[in-house]
């Protein structure tokens, strides 16, 4: 059950990264890829019906962490206190920018929320990458299972690299999403950005992989012990190759699939780097919180697993249906959203 929950949480966070990842990527690119009010409207509209549902994957994952590994939730969230508060403010900024933008026809109003959408999306993508980097690197968890995460601690060279990786990959993913959803001049710009960002994503992936071994020497342990673990980094590599091959126009859907695979591979590799730890202590391995010592009781794990998995099956079914409803290019006429 402990292992099952580890993978369930990893799957939830990966789904979040793939789904809200394109929302964040679109936002990060928005000011560069869209040049006038109509184009900016199209860019926001490409995600507006689905962004909220996509964000719920993060909230559901957080709730699941409470019940499955409460000590990790307690330690991680209190430890990351300041960073999480800033993240919350940025999520507020991103969310209301999307929802408020089209409410008033005034150009100043729209410019304000266009800027909010861009800043919020970019910084959220960055911070999430920073957070994941700190989890992989380890934190100064003490014997009581807690640490205090000051900005000085959390913004370190490695976590900034993972933050940049996050921005690069999610921006590439967002560009690919726009390749699927837009047409004309917007599409042309999205394709151009997608081609450039491939290099950024691939480059950062290589840099971060190397850097990971530097900050966490035991990073390769699970890969050495279990050959099947290699599937995940190979997925990343495969996705990058596939993405490179889809640089040309008319390979828009494939490009989006490629970046999806890369995100899945990166997330999977990251969790396999730490497994079975959830929060590694840099002070003393004895203080680390793992899937055994930080878990709730076997009954609690079992009942919550069943209750949540049953619900998530339904979610996947109707969410797929909802996303299909918004299939196709986004346009400004009244028949479209």
């Amino acid at each position: 059950m402990n292992v099952a929950w580890f993978w369930a949480l990893s799957a939830m966070l990966t789904a979040y990264a793939v789904l809200d990842g394109y929302d964040l990527g679109v936002g990060t690119l928005s000011l560069w890829v869209a040049h006038d009010d109509d184009e900016r409207r199209l860019v926001v509209n490409s995600i507006s019906p689905v962004w909220n549902g996509n964000e719920v994957w993060l909230l559901a994952a957080g709730g699941m962490l409470v019940v499955s590994f409460p000590r990790v939730y307690a330690s991680g969230f209190s430890g990351f206190y300041l960073a999480l508060m800033v993240l919350l403010w940025l999520l507020i900024l991103r969310g209301i920018s999307i929802e408020f933008r089209n409410q008033v026809a005034d150009p100043l109003w729209r410019s304000l929320w266009d800027a909010g959408f861009w800043v919020g999306s970019l910084l959220v993508a960055l911070l999430l990458g920073v957070a994941l980097g700190n989890v992989v690197q380890g934190l100064p968890i003490g014997p009581n299972g807690y640490f205090q995460g000051t900005f000085a601690l959390l913004l370190n060279p490695y976590s900034l690299l993972t933050g940049l990786l996050s921005v690069a990959v999610l921006a590439w993913h967002g560009a690919n999403y726009l390749r699927v959803k837009t047409e004309g001049a917007l599409l042309a710009r999205a394709e151009k950005w997608s081609r450039s960002l491939w290099w950024a994503a691939a480059g950062m992936a290589v840099i971060v992989t190397v850097a990971t071994f530097a900050v966490r020497p035991s990073a390769g342990r699970n890969f050495q012990a279990h050959a099947i673990a290699w599937v995940l980094p190979l997925l990343t590599l495969g996705g990058l190759v596939y993405g490179f091959l889809c640089r040309q126009e008319d390979h828009n859907n494939q490009a989006f699939r490629a970046s999806t695979l890369v995100i899945m591979g990166l997330m999977g590799s990251a969790v396999l780097t730490v497994f079975p730890d959830l929060l590694t202590s840099t002070l003393n391995p004895q203080y680390s919180l793992n899937i055994y010592n930080a878990a709730s009781s076997p009954l609690a794990l079992r009942t919550s697993f069943i209750a949540n998995v049953v619900g998530m099956i339904g979610v996947v079914v109707y969410s797929t249906y909802v996303h299909r409803t918004f299939h196709g290019k986004v346009r400004l006429d009244s028949g479209h959203y």
Binding site: P49, G63, V66, A74, S297, A300
Partner: protein, 449 residues
């Protein structure tokens, strides 16, 4: 109470009370939108479709603010109350993710479809999407109330040698006897608030002589629904919720009623000012033996007073007492208002009684106050317990988060939320000013009722 504990309490209390302003309307309005949408399909009357569409615009903004202000709360169980989460996460956490999995996905997922409109998704799907949103909102209310109910009346657990609690029964937690009536009372409160908002906007249009068809429908809906909801808020939901408090939280009951001494045939204090030093109510107005009747159904029953418990187990009496009396006082006024409205509707004078319409319009903030006051009773009245009888509040905070950090971020939230309030009011005012798109031309005032 240490500075840090106080700071954590203020942060949670402030962020949750601001957040809750939005679900108060979301849950109730979602129901009414689904109702209007259904009535349109059944009766083919376009006025219902116009109403659903108008309220959907306000609903969308309200919902967005509810979401962005709600995420901090889920984080705060960990950021500010880490020892509480470590202590009981395996138990109270059974309910928490279900809110996301069963409710948030539903409401967020289908809201996009609903707002995209009939033309994009077709009539049946649009209607179903509306039902999905309404159902999701109502369902999320249950899971979060069940989480809170566990804190009020912990069930389905056993003590763990490590110092925390361990789950013994998922079903006991899901069907906590405290949760059912608490949820019913919360939802009823939300529906009542929505009825007042619908009525208030309708009253505004009638008084301004605009959008008369829509306005009449709104005011009539508000009054008909309002009468039922104002009464059910008192009985059975308020009464049975109160009886749970009597049974499971005697200190909260004593504080809310201002009952300092245990009494047989205890009176109900309608008003009075608590003097906690002397243990009396100043200038009270009592209904003899009535508290015993409300609490136990027996005018001669004995009701426990605060003095039965040591002082350190008393909740903050003054705040609990006043917020309870504000809630009940307002609830009583709502019943009176809606009964008057129903009477006017029966006499065919509702739409032309300007004094009543003014009152209805100006009443819009008051259900919000009543709903929030009720939650203050619930949370402050539970003190000094975080989990009643199990974990004291000061033992549940995050000791690795300093008061200074908490105050800094609370100030940040206060600033952001002040701006969000202004933006919200501005956007909603614009929608109301613009008015509904009406499919049928507005009838003239001469048509009267």
């Amino acid at each position: 109470m240490s500075e840090a504990v106080f700071a954590h309490r203020i942060q949670f209390a402030f962020t949750v009370m601001f957040h809750y302003l939005f679900p108060i309307l979301t849950m109730g309005l979602g129901f009414f939108i689904a109702l209007f949408s259904t009535l349109h399909i059944v009766t083919k009357d376009r006025r219902y479709a116009d109403a659903a569409q108008f309220w959907a615009k306000i609903f969308a903004i309200n919902f967005a603010l509810g979401v962005v202000t709600g995420i901090p709360l889920e984080f705060e169980f960990g950021t500010n109350w880490s020892r509480f989460s470590s202590f009981g996460g395996g138990v109270f956490g059974q309910m928490l993710p279900l809110e996301g999995v069963y409710a948030f996905f539903l409401e967020s997922g289908f809201l996009g479809m609903f707002l995209a409109g009939e033309r994009r998704v077709g009539r049946t799907l649009h209607w179903l999407a509306g039902l999905g949103v309404a159902f999701g909102s109502l369902l999320s209310g249950y899971f979060i109330v069940a989480t809170n109910a566990w804190m009020q009346h912990p069930v389905g657990y056993e003590l763990d040698p490590s110092g925390g609690v361990r789950l013994t029964s998922f079903w006991a937690v899901l069907f906590n006897p405290y949760a059912g009536w608490q949820y019913a009372h919360v939802i009823n409160g939300s529906l009542l608030a929505a009825a007042f908002v619908i009525g208030g906007v309708g009253a505004f249009y009638l008084l301004s002589n605009r959008h008369l068809e829509f306005a009449r429908l709104s005011v009539k809906t508000a009054v008909v629904a309002g009468v039922i909801l104002a009464l059910t808020q008192l009985f059975p939901t308020g009464d049975f919720n109160g009886k749970n408090v009597v049974q499971y939280q005697p200190t909260k009951l004593a504080a809310m009623e201002g009952l300092f001494e245990t009494e047989k045939g205890a009176p109900l204090a309608i008003i009075g000012m608590p003097d906690t030093e002397k243990g009396i109510l100043i200038d009270p107005l009592y209904v003899p033996e009535f508290l015993s009747f409300l609490a136990y159904g027996d005018f001669h029953a004995t009701v426990e007073g605060l003095s039965k418990y040591s002082r350190d187990l008393w909740p903050p009496v003054v705040l609990t007492y006043y917020t309870y009396h504000i809630m009940v006082g307002l609830g009583t006024i709502f019943i009176a208002q809606m009964l008057i409205g129903l009477f006017l509707l029966w006499r065919r004078k509702l739409y032309s009684s300007r004094w009543f319409l003014w009152m209805l319009m100006l009443s819009v903030p008051f259900p919000y106050i009543a709903n929030e006051a009720g939650w203050v009773v619930s949370e402050v009245g539970r003190q000094p317990w975080l989990v009643y009888g199990l974990l004291l509040t000061h033992a549940g905070t995050s000791t690795n988060v300093a008061a200074g950090e908490t105050v800094f971020t609370t100030l940040g939230f206060a600033g952001i939320y002040a701006m969000l309030s202004i933006l919200f009011l501005f956007l909603v005012a614009r929608i109301i000013h613009h008015g509904p798109e009406e499919s049928v031309p507005a009838a003239s005032i001469a048509a009267g009722f």
